[in-house]
């Protein structure tokens, strides 16, 4: 996945959400434990991925928390994406090394750089799954 395209997609998503400073948003989400900021950050990442593919997906995301009682975001996020036409899970990961078949993509996002990395890896996984479907 081209890094410049990822940065451009994130900039477009930021403009849609009227977010001027991505790094501050993401850092405050976990440093301040702000659930609202965390929810905005995660939606912004999903939107950036959709911009990259020029397509909408169905999403479930989890803002993870170390402290379940207080629900303070810890900078970890999980994403599940499903294709709206075919019902294919696009975040499906078959890892033969750990013999793990997971439906979700998980990432630690605590800075703008982490956000770029997450969008890139998430988009690569989706691209890979879309291709595997095309082969079938």
């Amino acid at each position: 996945m081209d890094r410049e395209k990822v940065l451009q997609a994130l900039r477009e998503a930021q403009a849609e959400y009227d977010i001027k400073d991505l790094d501050r948003l993401v850092r405050e989400a976990w440093e301040e434990g702000d659930v609202l900021y965390a929810e905005i950050a995660v939606e912004l990442i999903e939107r950036a991925v959709e911009i990259l593919f020029n397509q909408h997906f169905l999403w479930v995301h989890i803002v993870e928390s170390e402290d379940c009682e207080e629900w303070i975001p810890d900078g970890w996020y999980s994403f599940v994406a499903v294709h709206p036409e075919t019902g294919q899970c696009l975040t499906f990961l078959n890892d033969p090394v750990c013999r793990c078949k997971s439906a979700r993509f998980r990432a630690r996002i605590r800075s703008a750089e982490d956000a770029v990395d997450a969008v890139m890896r998430l988009a690569e996984l989706i691209e890979q799954n879309l291709k595997s479907r095309a082969v079938e």
Partner: protein, 144 residues
């Protein structure tokens, strides 16, 4: 693929899975009834709600007859855990989201969902949620 299950079979599977979970954790003589009483008292303690998805999905897998890929969200609001569980289930063979469904309220606009959710407070809620998941999975497998 046609799944067959009755309420009795679901209850039997829940009991078998509960016994398996007890063996894995070396917990003895802790009945599901006792657990659910504690769960209702302490569900703000993450240990308790986290056992419920495992119990529900292992029961579903036992009846389906094979492992599934799944993910569960413990639904929260500002006051904390609400008692609601939201499941996304994927067939690891085909990557198809088995909890994906389309629904229309007015016959015109189609709404798409990828999760099946339900609140668990007591034993009957567990049976109901397992049944709901199996009905949805059955329908998705039939469409495949």
């Amino acid at each position: 693929m046609q799944l067959t299950y009755t309420e009795e079979q679901i209850k039997q599977a829940i009991e078998e899975v509960w016994q398996e979970l007890l063996q894995e954790t070396d917990a003895e003589n802790y009945s599901l009834e006792e657990y659910l009483e504690d769960y209702r008292k302490y569900w703000d303690d993450p240990c308790f709600p986290n056992d419920i998805p495992e119990l529900i999905m292992r029961t579903v897998e036992k009846i389906v007859g094979r492992p599934l890929s799944w993910y569960c969200e413990l639904v929260r609001d500002p006051a904390g855990f609400t008692g609601e569980y939201s499941f996304v289930v994927v067939d690891p063979k085909t990557q198809k989201c088995l909890t994906y469904r389309e629904y229309t309220f007015d016959g015109v606009n189609v709404h798409r969902f990828i999760n099946v959710a339900g609140t668990v407070v007591n034993y009957e809620d567990i049976v109901r949620l397992v049944t709901k998941l199996l009905d949805q999975i059955q329908s998705a497998l039939a469409d495949a």
